[in-house]
Amino acid sequence: MPAGFDPLSSVAFDLRRGAIELRGVAGHVLVPADALLSLSLAADSETSRDFAARLGTDLGRRLVERLGETPNASIELVLELLAGEFSLLGLGLLGLERWGRAMVLTVRGSPFGAAGDALLATVLESALQRAFGRDAAAVLLVREEGVGRFLVTSRATGELIRIWLSSGSSWADALTRLQRETGGAA
């Protein structure tokens, strides 16, 4: 079991060849975040989603490489490794909140701002899918003070949460209602 995220030798700049390697894999580029966001927003939704899913899948693959054969990894360890990979891509500082049974991932300081929340949500979904084989949906609950909160849940519940939020419910009320109705159903 890894002790934690080791950023050493994670990114290598080969100035002689003019290449950037990420964990020994060449073919990476450094692009301005606003240019990348503009390109993503200019593309159609399906293409933009495929682009974000590709980022998340690569991120999940590297997470699995760091995590190894540890299916019962603790929350702190997984969060540390996942947040490390997130930071290497420059996507922001990843955090985790537990609200009862609900897992909420937070992203602070995303370079895309509010316009890139959909892209970040798809990156998170694809990373969890690649690393843990779970088909989950990351639903943006709220963005306040530069922090975006994404509830990780099923796709059906995610659609329900979006309906509740669009109808005027606060994200705290939505989480409370979700806990109550899940407990009543159980």
Binding site: S74, R134, A136, S154, T157, L160, L178, Q179, T182, A185
Partner: protein, 363 residues
Amino acid sequence: MSQRLARLEALLERVRRNVQTRRPRGVAASRASDALAPPPPPVEAAPPDVAMTPFSLTGEVSTLEIVENETLEPLGEGDLVEVSSDLLDSLPPPETQSWEASQSAPAEDEPPVSSQRPRIAPELEPELEVGLSAPSDAPVADEREPLLTPPPESGPQEAPAGLFTDGGPEVETLVADSPPLSQSGAFPTPEQIGQAVELEEAGDHPLELDVAQARPRTVPPSEELEALLAQPAAAAMYDEALAPPPGAREELVAHDRRVSSGVVALDDLEDERTSELPEFQSEAPAFPEAAPRVAEAAAFPGEAPAPAYVPPSASEATGMAAPEVFAPALPRGGLPELKLPAASFRAQTFVELLDASIALRGS
């Protein structure tokens, strides 16, 4: 004179003989030609200087057989005979149709084998003859004037007289000849109805209505031998003389005590739990202080004030010895706080938390 009469009679006899000489095939062919082709042109009379030779037509082919090769002598003034009107009426009318038939018959004969004229297929000949013979059944139609196609700018053309009036029946005739509705099937016939009962017509008998008489309602005797209770004077109203239930007063006093102590703000579950706490039992001596206030007020109008309530002790109520009371370490002076049990879910691994979050369901 007698010779002239004899010659005239001979001439008349030949005319009669020629009239009787007819060819059936030629007549049928003439009818066919009438149906297919326009009517033949009228026969023009021969010039008077040409000698007319009588002949007869025989055979299927238009072959002329000269019967007599006799030239007629030109008539002179002596041949003029005055014929009486009776004699002229006895003469048969001239049949121009036979002459026309004899003239048109050769046109319907079959052409020779070497001819290039179009022929009718042999298998269509019977059908054609049937179709051609149909106009013979409607001789009226043959006598109608042919319709002329007017030029476009000529306007409406007047239909020939008798075109529509001859064939169509009169409407009044159809209505008069049609059977009545009862026989045409629109209404059921008496045979279809069956055994119908005929009602007699209303007579002059006056109708009388039986006026219902007020009959006393009798209650049937009960088989279960139940006695009917006497109805109170004020039924379905509150009876002030009705005594309260035996335990109502105690419950009312206890309720007032709870209201005065503020315990009623809790729900039922909390009330039951807190009532079991020894702390409430320790606060029980406060009840007699409020009892006189409750005893002063009458629960029901016209009722005497009840004496002060003194609750029985636990030993008196249960008949057992006094229980051992343990005072909880709760802070005094405030209402007991109800705490919900903490959530039992506590994920240890990231996958557990992830699965629990995915398992969240809403309705």
